[in-house]
Symmetry: C2
Subunit: 312 residues, 2 copies
């Protein structure tokens, strides 16, 4: 029986591992089928993790994290978790893809979320080298430069407004001629002088060189095309929350979720189920920043420790 | 008119400064009368800030933070803020102890909280070198050692339980013979084999040498004394929230507070007042960890940016 099972090995999971083990829980396993570190390891540069300066990549940032946790006894199991359930006696079961199962007193789920790709040529090749899905993370790298934003929903428009304060110009590329967003957000976008709307347009290809992106080619509804010179392309066409592990056999979720599939939490990262915590990008209102995910992981861990304490 | 005024220069304030400036707000001032860095700079060692490893002090940890922010344009003003108010037009006023005033579109308050001292001899001298007010931070340094806990309230008992999982023994020193805490917390403390209750006892002096604390002398109600050999003493006798800047002329607070004087916030660090955010140890349910305060600061900053965007 584990004291705590941590599902996912990004910044939230690693910090949860650091705090649970350092807080005296003896049997803690972090389940992560790949290398720990999370999505940030795909970023070529990160400069907004507080206290870590200099030109470092997301991979560089995350290198010390697993070792820091393992020093306090965190175990990393390279398994894929398929389902987390809770028995009537309050014990959690962790089902894995190899058919085996673990039991745990408490569970911290931090499986993150995955931004959808728009599907244009070059998107994967240049991801992290000019193609980004996070304005907060990468916008500043294009200060006083021009960028393109792909999408027409709330997030795309809000991120375009964010980028417009940093960049000289934002091309907002959307496949329709109207936006699916709050009216006053649309109004603000239309009133922002350095946002150019590129409507009825589908991104076809991002082009670039060894240094990264140099431009994007879009094709319009009338089959004409346009090339836009930009060193940065931001894609906001939706987000998949990695919540599959919480889905039960009958299709319901183990705990309360938002309409967007994120886990509902309070300030302590408690879910609607006692002993179950969520942390990082999969939880409601997640700011999707490394330092925030890490903070979540610490809070959830402190709760899991107190919970295990009362249930042994 | 400032885009954002940040009150306080600990991990929350510095991270708020990093994210607001990097997010394109041009006029951001962090008001901090002393050196930036916050309370953690008094700790002789920190090993639970994710990604930063090795034997480093709290001061070492915080050294790169101000420079990281200033690179993006954050200004640090060494002033003492006495009051934050909000005019009818929605503009915030920042009153300072020298009588001058600033105006700001948004405000992030992160003035922290100050653990109370118990008042025994040697408490200040050995603070950060054996005397601590944070079990989560410093408990692990006493793994498989004995420690003393001073206090009889909820926090003292919960922290004693936390320490009991790490340390071989916890002496719980309390001036009365009963505790002011939840009945089941008291029950758990009494049922924990390695917690020894030292009741009707007042700590008189912490003694030590150049390496740190070696023991504590307590005096009982009947005037007898006892010396306890411990390398660590944890003091939990209350907490002062540094909320004075939010107090208005009529004695009311600018925004909604908890009964304990902490600022009520939601997951986005929004207070009850539009444009006013709280971050770090002064907000409700704060876990009082550097990484959590930093995460708060980032979230509050992203909100302040979006708010300024809609109010210019």
């Amino acid at each position: 029986m584990l004291d705590c099972a941590i599902i996912g090995g990004g910044p939230a999971g690693l910090t949860a591992g650091l705090y649970t083990t350092r807080g005296g829980l003896n049997k803690v396993v972090m389940f992560e089928k790949g290398m720990p570190g999370g999505q940030i390891t795909m970023s070529s540069e990160i400069e907004n993790y507080p206290g870590v300066t200099g030109h470092i990549s997301g991979m560089d940032l995350m290198i010390p994290w697993p070792e820091q946790c393992q020093r306090f006894g965190l175990k990393h199991e390279m398994s894929e978790v398929t389902r987390v359930s809770r028995r009537e006696d309050g014990v959690f079961t962790i089902q894995k893809s190899d058919g085996s199962m673990d039991e745990a007193k408490s569970v911290i789920v931090c499986t993150g979320s995955t931004p959808k790709r728009a599907g244009f040529t070059g998107e994967d090749t240049f991801f992290g080298r000019g193609v980004s899905t996070c304005a907060t993370c990468d916008g500043f790298f294009y200060k006083n430069k021009e960028v393109a934003v792909i999408g027409g929903g709330d997030t795309a428009l809000e991120e375009a407004l964010y980028l417009a304060k940093i960049c000289t110009k934002v091309y907002l590329i959307h496949r329709r001629d109207s936006f699916r967003s709050a009216p006053n957000t649309i109004e603000r976008v239309k009133n922002t002088a350095n946002i150019e709307l590129v409507l009825n347009a589908i991104p076809e290809e991002v082009v670039g060189d060894a240094m990264g992106v140099t431009g994007i080619r879009v094709v319009f509804n009338d089959a004409t095309t346009r090339h836009i010179d930009v060193p940065g392309v931001f894609v906001f066409v939706g987000n998949n929350v990695n919540n599959q592990v919480l889905m039960q056999e009958d299709g319901s979720f183990l705990c309360e979720m938002t309409p967007w599939g994120e886990v509902k939490v309070d300030l302590s990262m408690k879910t609607s189920v006692p002993g179950l915590y969520a942390a990082g990008d999969m939880r409601a209102e997640a700011p999707k920043q490394v330092v925030c995910a890490a903070g979540d992981g610490a809070v959830a861990a402190l709760q899991a420790i107190a919970y295990a304490d009362g249930h042994h």
